[in-house]
């Protein structure tokens, strides 16, 4: 029978070999916009898997379980990275802008940012319903192929709806006075 230390050593050896790929994976999909540290994620995954192996005294972890550990680790890290939604009350004698208190994003954003975001939300809501989801997903960074998978349609159809929607969105925003949305 394999001892606990043998299992831990075996897990360490396997993870050492696959750790770099996990870090790349996290860096590709999370670090740019979400600010996650791939090294932290890899360490956390390693610790969680090690705890399971120690507890179960079994090195036959199902792939679905390993995947679940990775995804929950990333979700937990993303949750920790989200800013607090509470807004500190102003101290006595200090005035807080009404926009800062009403803006659900937080007081750090200016009123003009809030207005621009409202305009984007409103313009997307005015798009034909079939184009709204492809546009939202495209603005989350998904490719037409990925959008097609998510919306259960062909990549060609997703691409068509996405581009038509994006052009219409740009026209609506420009018509509403948001001129500087084109990339330099």
């Amino acid at each position: 029978m394999t001892s606990g230390s043998d299992l831990a050593a075996k897990l360490n050896a396997v993870l050492n070999k696959h750790a770099a790929r996990l870090r790349v994976l996290v860096a590709q999909h999370c670090s740019a916009n979400q600010g996650l540290d791939p090294d932290d994620i890899e360490q956390e995954v390693r610790i969680r898997l090690w705890k399971v192996v120690e507890r179960e005294k079994n090195d036959a972890l199902p792939a679905s379980y390993v995947q679940r550990v990775v995804v929950t680790t990333v979700i937990d890290a993303l949750r920790r990275g989200k800013p607090e939604q509470t807004v500190a009350l102003p101290e006595s004698g200090q005035e807080a802008g009404i926009e800062a208190l009403l803006d659900p994003i937080g007081p750090v954003r200016s009123a003009s940012d809030g207005q621009r975001m409202d305009m984007v939300r409103a313009a997307i809501a005015e798009l034909p319903s079939r184009r709204q989801q492809p546009v939202r997903l495209a603005l989350q960074g998904f490719t037409p192929e990925e959008i097609g998978d998510l919306l259960d349609m062909t990549a060609t159809m997703a691409k068509n709806l996405m581009y038509r929607g994006l052009y219409e969105l740009r026209d609506r925003l420009k018509a509403a006075g948001l001129e500087d949305i084109d990339d330099d």
Binding site: K10, Q67, V71, I181
Partner: protein, 183 residues
């Protein structure tokens, strides 16, 4: 257009934290692995479209499938040599090859099943025919059809009873003339 608009839209996703808080990792994996359908799938896709953090988590769920399978297989001591030599390109090609192999195996099984069923059916038909033919022959033998001879019942040297109802040289009883005994 897209970069600025992307940042603006993602900043406008004011329900990001709430949607991330409510997500179930298992459902996200199910969606990434193509196992989620119906209203639950629609709700989750809607949430992903409205939450940059959830979109990132979904991407990780989608991309971590191969990685997890590799780690699990190696921990279990399976395909160690193959995994060691996996490069990113072969790692992405491997599931495709597995799908082709699975399709080929299923096709072979289907063809084999048809072949075997035909083989099993053919002897049964032959046997049945044999039995039928044997029964006919046996019945015929029993009924005496095949064994009854025109010579049966008359002594050796007697004339055929059919043609011996009249004496040689007599005229036919019906036509009253001689047919020359059929000669």
């Amino acid at each position: 257009m897209t970069d600025k608009l992307t940042h603006l839209y993602q900043a406008a996703c004011h329900e990001d934290a709430r949607l991330l808080e409510g997500v179930d990792a298992d459902r996200l994996i199910d969606l990434a692995e193509g196992r989620l359908a119906g209203p639950e799938r629609e709700r989750l896709v809607e949430a992903i479209a409205a939450s940059p953090a959830l979109a990132a988590a979904y991407r990780v769920a989608r991309a971590s499938g191969d990685w997890s399978r590799g780690v699990a297989a190696e921990l279990a001591g399976e395909r160690v040599d193959n995994i060691r030599t996996l490069t990113p390109r072969t790692a992405t090609a491997a599931p495709r090859r597995q799908r082709w192999a699975l399709a080929a195996a299923v096709s072979a099984m289907a063809i084999g099943a048809v072949f075997v069923s035909q083989q099993m059916r053919a002897p049964a038909v032959d046997t049945g025919d044999d039995v039928i033919f044997a029964a006919i022959i046996e019945k015929a033998a029993g009924d005496g059809i095949m064994v009854t001879s025109f010579d049966a019942g008359r002594a050796a040297g007697d004339d055929d009873r059919i043609f011996t109802t009249r004496a040689p040289g007599e005229s036919d009883a019906i036509f009253d003339q001689s047919f020359g005994n059929g000669s």
